[in-house]
């Protein structure tokens, strides 16, 4: 029986405002331990492909790092952590591309969809059918998506690098467009599988009206915690606090 793979990109890079390893250490610890317990391979891409200006594009090189051995693959951003008891997401799907809808900031999304439409002028992306790329589960048959996006980058490197500074993201919207263009079968996962914008959703809170249980809601009620959507300077501290609180549960 073939194995499955989870991978992340953890690269320190001059274009990043904060050093990746400062916060990704908590990501790696949680995923490494969780994957080991479930007999899932875990791969960290920690070298930057110099043809890309930003390390966000390194995730699309995954098929250069692996052969054909993995049937199903999971991509997780390096600012995520997994709950120690999270079920196996590879049991949730067959051949679909799985991810979580993102309605957290419709202004940002609206602008981003508009900006990146120039590369997909034939496609119309519905803002309510828009997904977050920080956690994706797919299969090796989806390699074409990765190849196409790298090709798109190579052809449009200058303008894509420029647009990355406009405030509408770097690759997430392109990935949404590419899946739409290729008519890829999508399976929407519940937000428990990519709990982003936790500050806005008030998932850092706990039930302050009841008893002594001060466990934050995101730990109690979700599987993959995505530490994004709040002031980025707080990320390392929040991920460290989380690990200090629950790191002992991973065994």
């Amino acid at each position: 029986m073939s194995k499955n793979l989870i991978y992340t990109v953890a690269v320190n890079h001059e274009t990043s405002q904060f050093k990746n390893t400062d916060y990704s250490q908590y990501c790696l610890m949680s995923w490494e331990k969780w994957c080991k317990k479930r007999n899932i391979d875990f791969l960290v891409i920690d070298t930057h492909e110099p043809n890309f200006k930003y390390p966000h594009w390194d995730k699309y090189t995954i098929f250069n790092h692996i052969d054909n051995e993995y049937e199903k693959i999971g991509l997780v951003d390096s600012d995520t952590m997994v709950h120690w008891d999270a079920p196996n997401p590879f049991d949730l799907y067959n051949d679909e591309w799985c991810w979580v809808k993102d309605l957290s900031n419709l202004r940002w999304t609206s602008k981003s969809i508009e900006n990146y439409n120039r590369f997909y002028s034939e496609e119309k992306l519905d803002i309510y059918d828009y997904y977050n790329s920080g956690v994706c589960f797919f299969t090796k048959e989806h390699k074409i998506i990765f190849d196409n996006l790298i090709k798109l980058y190579k052809i449009n490197k200058e303008s894509l690098d420029d647009m990355a500074t406009w405030g509408g993201g770097k690759d997430q919207t392109l990935l949404n467009y590419e899946l739409k263009k290729q008519k890829i079968k999508v399976k929407e996962l519940s937000s428990q599988w990519n709990m982003f914008a936790m500050h806005k959703k008030e998932m850092f809170n706990h039930n302050w009206q009841d008893g002594d249980d001060k466990t934050p809601f995101f730990i109690k009620y979700s599987w993959i915690w995505h530490f994004t959507g709040f002031p980025i300077e707080q990320r390392t501290d929040i991920m460290k606090q989380t690990w200090d609180l629950i790191g002992g549960n991973y065994g």
Partner: protein, 245 residues
Amino acid sequence: MAKNVVFIIAVKKDGQLKPEYEIGIESWRRWCKKNDVELFLLEEPVLPMNEMHIIWQRYFLFDIYDANGIESDQTLMVDADTIVHPDCPNFFNETEHKYCLVHDDGSYDWILRGMEHYSKRVYNGKWFDYTKYGNSGFQIVNNSHRDFFQHMRDFYFENIEQINTIQQSYGIGTDQTPLNFNLTFKEIDVKLLPYKYNMTCMPKKEILAEDMLYTKLGWVMHFNGLPDKDKSVPFWMKKTFDYLW
């Protein structure tokens, strides 16, 4: 042939309805006319409001219809602090004749505290998937839900002390959380419609602003979750109505 109905609670307080609610209702009046849908305003409570919170009284819907000789196909029960867009499609065509809600993720603090309190104090520790939790300010129902509405009322009177205690002690709303629990445990087939049909907590989505972006992204704007609501809700509802209608 039975028509579809939009049902709004419009019970006056001290002889008048809030002006912003009048505005919301007017938008629905116009939309209903355009789409051949009946508008029904509940202007008098069924029971004294000190016996049953007015919000809970919407679950008398079918009794009200029977008493008034109204034959309905589907009904949208919508809060008065909403404004419908003139171009809003006829959402009754998207229901598959199921019980329809829109997921609410505006404040999981509020939602999860409410679920935990009700679970512990009323539902014997039972739980349901909070990612399917719907906002009760936009509910589409039909005649197949008569028994469920009876259940909601029975539930209310059987648990009135606990419900009142929870409502008063924890500030977690009225019917919304019990509605979600009861829909789950009664195995009602619920369809969640997209956010554009009940745009709650718009400031959190970063769309409620002078450029009126929110009016371009959806159809039913729900003016809840706004800071300084006594001033901001009337302001934004009037501005939106004037802009759209």
